[in-house]
Symmetry: C3
Subunit: 335 residues, 3 copies
């Protein structure tokens, strides 16, 4: 059994520095595809940006009759998106409530050293921990649970992954280096699930997360998922839950996949400016029909909606999009 | 049953504009890997470029003893490549002849709005439709059938995909922005098929396309294809059907995969200039050994053949290339 | 049976030229992840760089109880990394010793013409051959065995692949064109294996390489590997065999996968400069969390270690990393 974490100590990914002079701001995280309030251009010098997330283990019906023993950051799959600026400090309080069964932690791909924070944040049920790191590189970066050994892929494949966006202090810029602003941002977290079936081909529903492990492991190791979804379940971003935009708006779509490659595509639209690998120091690609998110990364695509209507946003492996679940809708209002 | 499409109306993907002053030109499509006649540098102002394609459902022997209930644009897998210039209008007449069994449509990744034209072009057997859209972005773009729901991946996996190349009006340019011309262009459409097997491991041959659906769907949903081919069947571009070139020629290879990632490689050659994501406003990569085509996209690679001989052009997953079928040959004449 | 190769003839991939005036240097290859001694900036004009590799067929325990009938260049999986400069000539003596059972050859993605040398180098057991080619393009390039037809994927999936790095004569340069030096270089060759199981789910151990072929072929054609490893076996680069570095050092990680896509990630670190497709004439990407190696290619990532500690270097499909084997460690010393 792991030692009780000291909930009042801040664990630093990298050498500690004196931060007493920095301003603090607390951000309230919101469930994806929405993103908490934030400025695109940093209003002044670096700050300490405080976030809090509660880990919640819960069963989720990811498709009709298909139940996942899910593990979540803050109750949603994917975990909420955080936004800070380059040079800011991220200070996350991570809570593992006593009703959970498992140890968890958090590895930020945006952090440097200490396994991205994973080495500092392992928390048992009933514990919490505080991690602070400096966001030194601008871009979209995955975070995920990585509690060691085979727990790592299992926790990620159970839903424990999200994204942090580290904006350049002056905001985004285009292929010419000219500033570019988004009118709206959506965060699409793609996950693949490996839900076991019984001998009749019916999905097995488990009593608890521990019971689900052995069968799930076997399916995972075959590398073929049963479901590929956006926002944690089939249809989470369609119908009443479709993303909304207005004609003429520039919408930034941040897309993460923490474990498996994917290829987003906006039917009827394009990627005007695409940071495929998600890092804003690189020149964005233009005009893309489809972009590629490397498994274990988050990318970003900006599109100005020229026409009103209903757009489908898909993983353009169309089997995965239509039959396994990776389809969202964007409803664009206009005259 | 869908309403009878009005075969005399032109459906516009985007708001209609007055085009009466534009010149028209009719292009006769040819079967891949060949490409219809075209200018690399646009001869004057924007034109309306007319194309016509007939949808043909037919059984195809994709490998010895392996039969696909195929669906095709204009009788070939992939569908023919179209070439226009940025600023031109594409005007496609799409015919679904009465002998077909299924509804079809066309979604152009090059078009803006209306699901890429998919929302405007659904045609029953015995109907035709006309779609017009402005080609506003330079690059190679997939088009494919997308008749709704699970029909989408099935029609694509049955062969209904092709490519349109939208050239910059001044032709292509290299990594320095200097103009570059190709001496020859080939279009390689890669498709993966999911042909079901019986309990003895023999491919099942179906009476008609409808009968093939349930088993095919099951194989598709497992995401592992039985065949990965260029130009619709194993060996379609080898032996007598090998592509030809001359030593010293610059050959543009356009490569599409509408559903699944692939990684073209020219054995003994390279990609001198590669637009991996296919969009000509981006700086091409140089010297590539292997390039990556995101599932649901088309890319382009230019190579000047320095040596005569027989080159193999493959998907460099070598199992897919050799055992599942994704191999072509280029015979290069020289002294 | 193939004709006896003339072991005294040098086979040229491309037209022969007079090379008598060039200096020669012999490089002793070393087993990966290490790389033979070399200069980053070329000391003078082009040279003929001599290498020698012996092909060794041998059984390898790739994980506890899982035996591969391996085929290797020089006894290691992957084969050793070669380093030359742009404009140098590579002169490889390739030996197929009499104790081997199979024909082999070598296809260099860095070479031009003659199937990358594959058409010139087929050697029977007991033969040797000499291949010479000019390294005309700077970058990291895969080499692999490609002895024809279904032997190609089988030999590659049995371990016969490595990398050559062709440095620009003036060494590497960053995104601004400024020179950049590495303090250390490691070569990580990723391979996936397809080891058959019996009806109890136990891995089958074969008497010899020939006996292993039919079952292995069947697993290969299903496209799902049993193992995904770095340096030839699970745990080859962890524990005592971890890669080493010092805080403040810039380490170049060259990563190849000759057959299947992968996505390297350094937990707790980043790619400061990444040549994803591996070709040094292209501008490197910055700040990457995860980079993508197209199956059939080699890429390179430079990272300056800012913090001491143990880093994990993984294929960020975490199932492949943790459960199938694709994990390495980097131990970084510092105060
Ligand atoms: Cu967890
Ligand atoms: Cu990770
Ligand atoms: Cu169709
Ligand atoms: Cu599409
Ligand atoms: Cu071999
Ligand atoms: Cu190769
Ligand atoms: Na919260
Ligand atoms: Na990037
Ligand atoms: Na036609
Ligand atoms: Na591009
Ligand atoms: Na040697
Ligand atoms: Na490159
Ligand atoms: Zn800020
Ligand atoms: Zn966890
Ligand atoms: Zn599409
Ligand atoms: Zn034109
Ligand atoms: Zn169709
Ligand atoms: Zn190759
Ligand atoms: Zn040299
Ligand atoms: Zn071999
Ligand atoms: Zn990670």
């Amino acid at each position: 059994k792991a030692a009780k974490a000291d909930s009042t100590t801040v664990h630093e990914a990298a050498a500690p520095v004196d931060l007493t002079s920095l301003k603090r701001i607390k951000r309230e995280l919101v469930a994806p595809p929405f993103v908490h309030e934030h400025e695109q251009i940093a209003p002044g010098g670096p700050r300490i940006v405080e976030f809090e997330m509660k880990i919640i283990e819960k069963e989720i019906e990811v498709d009709r009759g298909a139940y996942l023993q899910g593990m979540t950051f803050d109750g949603s799959i994917p975990g909420p998106m955080m936004v800070v600026h380059e040079g800011d400090y991220v200070e996350l309080t991570l809570i593992n409530p006593p009703e959970n069964m498992l140890q968890h932690n958090i590895d930020f791909h945006a952090a440097t050293g200490a396994l991205g924070g994973g080495a500092l944040t392992l928390v048992n049920p009933g514990e919490k921990t505080v991690l602070r790191f400096k966001a030194t590189r601008p871009g979209t970066f995955v975070y995920h649970c990585a509690p060691g050994g085979p727990m790592i892929p299992w926790h990620v494949a159970s839903g424990m992954a999200g994204t942090i966006m580290v904006l350049p202090r002056e905001g985004l810029s285009d292929h010419n280096g000219d500033p570019v602003k988004y009118d709206r941002v959506y965060y699409i977290g793609e996950n693949e699930f490996y839900i076991p079936k019984d001998e009749n081909g019916d999905y097995i529903r488990y009593e608890d997360v521990g019971e689900s492990y052995p069968d799930t492991l076997e399916v995972m190791n075959g590398l073929i998922p049963s479901h590929v979804v956006f926002n944690g379940k089939v249809g989470a971003l369609t119908g009443e839950n479709a993303m909304k935009a207005k004609q003429g708006e520039k919408v930034l779509f941040v897309h993460s996949q923490a474990n498996r490659d994917t290829r987003p595509h906006l039917i009827g639209g394009h990627g005007d400016l695409v940071w495929e690998a998600g890092k804003f120091n690189n020149v964005p690609d233009r005009d893309l029909e489809t972009w590629f998110i490397r498994g274990g990364s988050a990318g970003a695509a900006l599109y100005e909606f020229l026409q009103p209507g209903v757009y489908a946003y898909v993983n353009h492996n169309l089997i995965e999009a239509v039959n396994l679940g990776a389809t969202a809708h964007v409803v664009v209002e206009g005259e």
